[in-house]
């Protein structure tokens, strides 16, 4: 482990005990660095997971009743296991999960590794190579208004992606309702906010709003981002439009219907075409062709049936064309190796399984 950490010193990692208090969103960065969102500790860690294995070939990972196996491994009941996120190591293709074991004072953050044989192990979170970036509103630092302020504001990170030297972070404030996308340069420099931007989106050409981004995925060689919101629209941004400190505008390309919340997005290639999958908590798994997003104009006109027959429910298929896939209960997804997509699925009884799907079958 120490040798591994030493090899990542050039990325600003140093060996020590990071004191991670919770684990949430995960994303892999350069050279197998794992970014871990710690929402209790208000920080993002870059850690060396000590996984230098190179896969070289497609390896399916399939593990039924993953939650039961994790509970057995962690020595607790199933109720004490909360799987927060899934990511795939770009070199070894091993699956990594962020898992909270227990809650409150007894909560233990765990980074679980699952290899192609389905064997479970965990990444030691003390004496590892790591670096840290605080999640804070930089404006609070040395603020003369301190006397009137009570530091109760938090930003709960909901998703992260590493894009060309920047860790892009979506989060939800526990106070103000806004849409701030943080862009943190990696290796971490301590300058977290210079690249924050507030994003507005317009619905039906009429209502301009901001809302926290729940999940997002870079695509088209990291030139575009497709984001899903707490308020259900799916919005496209062009990365070159991002200017530090500016208000940015995204293009609402689809709505996914009432009482439904997008949970995760993943991109993959099938033939020469790039596609995105959107996992939802109520609706089925949705497949969108990236070329259709480009061709989709901003949503401007509500469905005519709204005016002519308000009793008719509006078809949630407003916007970009989409295909519904049969995979049930998809909660998290990750591109395994280009040829396969790994999915964390919850069955109707609440059991959680990990399955691999060939992109040719999606």
């Amino acid at each position: 482990m120490v040798d591994q950490a030493t090899t990542l010193e050039h990325l600003g990692l140093a060996v020590g005990s990071p004191g991670i208090r919770s684990v949430g969103p995960l994303a892999f960065g350069p050279e197998g660095v794992l970014f871990v969102g710690d929402n209790v500790g208000a920080a993002i860690y870059a850690i060396d997971v000590g996984d230098s294995e190179t896969s070289g070939q497609a390896r399916a990972i399939d593990l039924d009743n993953l939650d039961s196996s994790l509970a057995a491994y962690l020595g607790c009941t199933r109720e004490d296991v909360e799987i927060r996120d899934l990511a795939v190591h770009p070199g070894s293709n091993n699956a990594y999960l962020s898992v909270m074991r227990g809650s409150g004072d007894a909560a233990v953050p765990v980074i679980v590794r699952i290899d192609a044989s389905g064997a479970i192990s965990d990444v030691a979170l003390d004496e590892i190579g790591f670096s840290k970036s605080e999640i804070e509103d930089a404006a609070d630092e040395d603020d003369p208004r301190e006397v009137t302020r009570v530091k109760l504001r938090t930003v709960t990170v909901t998703d992260m992606s590493y894009v060309d030297g920047l860790l892009v972070v979506a989060g939800t404030s526990n106070e103000e309702f806004s849409s701030t996308l943080r862009r943190i340069r990696f290796p971490f420099t301590g300058d977290t906010n210079a690249n924050s931007l507030e994003i507005f989106h317009v619905s039906h050409g009429r209502y301009e709003t901001a809302a926290p981004i729940r999940a997002f995925v870079p695509y088209q060689g990291n030139n575009s981002i497709l984001a899903s919101y707490t308020c259900t629209p799916v919005v496209q941004f062009t990365v070159s439009d991002f200017a530090p400190g500016e208000l940015a505008h995204g293009k609402t390309v689809a709505e996914l219907g009432a009482h439904n919340r997008p949970l995760d997005l993943v991109s993959y290639e099938q033939g020469d075409e790039e596609y995105l999958l959107v996992a939802n908590d109520r609706h089925p798994l949705i497949k969108i062709a990236c070329v259709d997003i480009d061709q989709q104009g901003p949503l401007t006109v509500p469905d005519d049936s709204l005016d002519s027959s308000p009793a008719d429910p509006v078809t949630p298929g407003v916007g970009v064309p989409r295909q519904l896939l049969p995979h049930e209960g998809v909660r998290r997804m990750a591109n395994l190796d280009g040829d396969n997509v790994l999915m964390l699925q919850q069955d109707p009884e609440g059991n959680i399984h990990l399955h691999t799907y060939d992109v040719g079958d999606l």
Binding site: A72, G75, T77, A106, T148, R153, F177, R206
Partner: protein, 374 residues
């Protein structure tokens, strides 16, 4: 399986809780008599092939014992006893099972004795309670965006989805889909204040969920917010009691906060009297704690203490030093919101066809006031 915590005994194996290097470990006595032959020395690899500690839940799940992952940890031999030191702490109230596999020489028919032990639960009396529910008002707008729950002590996460509900006060009927699913839950750093977001997709004009399902609340229909005692404090204990609050529901509010309409009671220079500010509508409790401040005649921030008033309808500011004579500024951070998410710089869901809605401003809003001798 025994329900009595503490030492457990099989034919020859005794299990007992103990402490090893400051951590709770499991002591396994009599292990050398539980197998037909000695293990041949304290070899941890050999021991872990012969013994496996499992959760009783996993053992009783119906899965093949050999397919259940053993609990992460290590065995240590010391004297006549074997110890299991878990990688993650044993859980209060959980049951554990030691499977002793027969020695390879014992033959295929040899039994695998299993011994169980139960970790005592924390049975301390519950003490935590809901100290306040915000907004602290009687009537909320139909497009209410947030509640804050203030607890008396730090809480655990993960149970809000099941423990919090909203019902019509007239019929008792539950109102469904009111909140954004609480995953992740939104807590302050002390884990004493939780934010509940009402589903913005149903609040925002022009979105399909708003058109399909309407506002989460119903104008003119009072409701109650219920917090079940099954929420857990940081030690895993339930609340001392549940909590509830009744609200009436008024019309929607869809305009910017207008500080020009606030009524200021300005103190005399030289005094330590508070500046008092009456708002034109109730504002967001949490944001009020940090989104207002005062600049003095020299343009610097006045040191002092700001406090929101009853029903979040007012704010007062007491300076640390006596007021100076001259023009001051009450500064309103652009992030301040009312109960419907409108700020001084933008309407929550701006109707771009409405000239009054205007594009969002990028600066804070300032209200001048003059401290002068009466």
């Amino acid at each position: 399986m025994s329900q009595v915590p503490g030492e457990e005994t099989s034919a020859a194996i005794n299990l007992a809780w103990c402490e090893r290097n400051g951590k709770v470990a499991l002591k396994i006595d009599g292990w050398d008599r539980a197998v037909p032959a000695d293990l041949g020395g304290p070899d941890a690899g050999d021991i872990s092939r012969r013994f496996a500690l499992l959760t009783t839940e996993a053992l009783e799940s119906g899965r093949d014992v050999n397919s259940v992952p053993p609990i992460a940890g290590r065995f240590e031999v010391s004297g006549d006893a074997l110890f299991f030191i878990p990688r993650f702490p044993f859980v209060a109230g959980a049951s554990y099972s030691l499977v002793a596999r027969p020695h390879p020489d014992a033959g295929a028919d040899a039994a695998s004795p299993i011994v169980h032990i139960w970790r005592p639960a924390d049975e301390a009396e519950p003490t935590a309670f809901v100290a306040c529910i915000y907004p602290d008002v009687a009537v909320v707008p139909v497009n209410l965006l947030k509640f804050y729950l203030q607890f008396s002590e730090p809480m655990s996460e993960g149970r809000a989805q099941r423990a919090i509900r909203v019902c019509r006060d007239d019929t008792g009927e539950p109102l469904e889909g009111v909140f954004v699913p609480m995953d992740p839950e939104l807590w302050d750093p002390t884990r004493q204040r939780m934010t509940l977001l009402l589903d913005p997709a149903r609040i925002k004009h022009g979105l399909v969920p708003n058109m399909e399902a309407g506002y989460p609340l119903i104008e003119g229909v009072p409701f109650r917010l219920f917090i079940d005692p099954s929420l857990r404090d940081s030690r895993g204990r339930p609340l001392r009691a549940g909590a509830e609050r009744r609200y009436d529901v008024g019309p929607e509010v869809r305009e910017r906060i207008d500080p020009r309409k606030w009524r200021l009671t300005v103190p005399a220079p030289g005094s330590l009297d508070p500046l008092q500010v009456e708002f034109e509508r109730p504002l967001d409790y949490a944001l009020l704690q940090r989104c207002l401040w005062v600049n003095g005649p020299l343009g610097t921030v006045v040191d002092g203490h700001g406090k929101s008033g009853p029903g979040e309808g007012s704010w007062s500011f007491t300076p640390a030093e006596p007021w100076l004579a001259g023009t001051h500024q009450l500064v309103v951070d652009r992030q301040l919101e009312d109960l419907s998410g409108n700020s001084p710089v933008r309407v929550f869901d701006r109707d771009m066809t409405e000239p009054d809605d205007g594009p969002p401003l990028t600066d804070n809003v300032v209200v001048d006031f003059l401290c002068e001798s009466g």
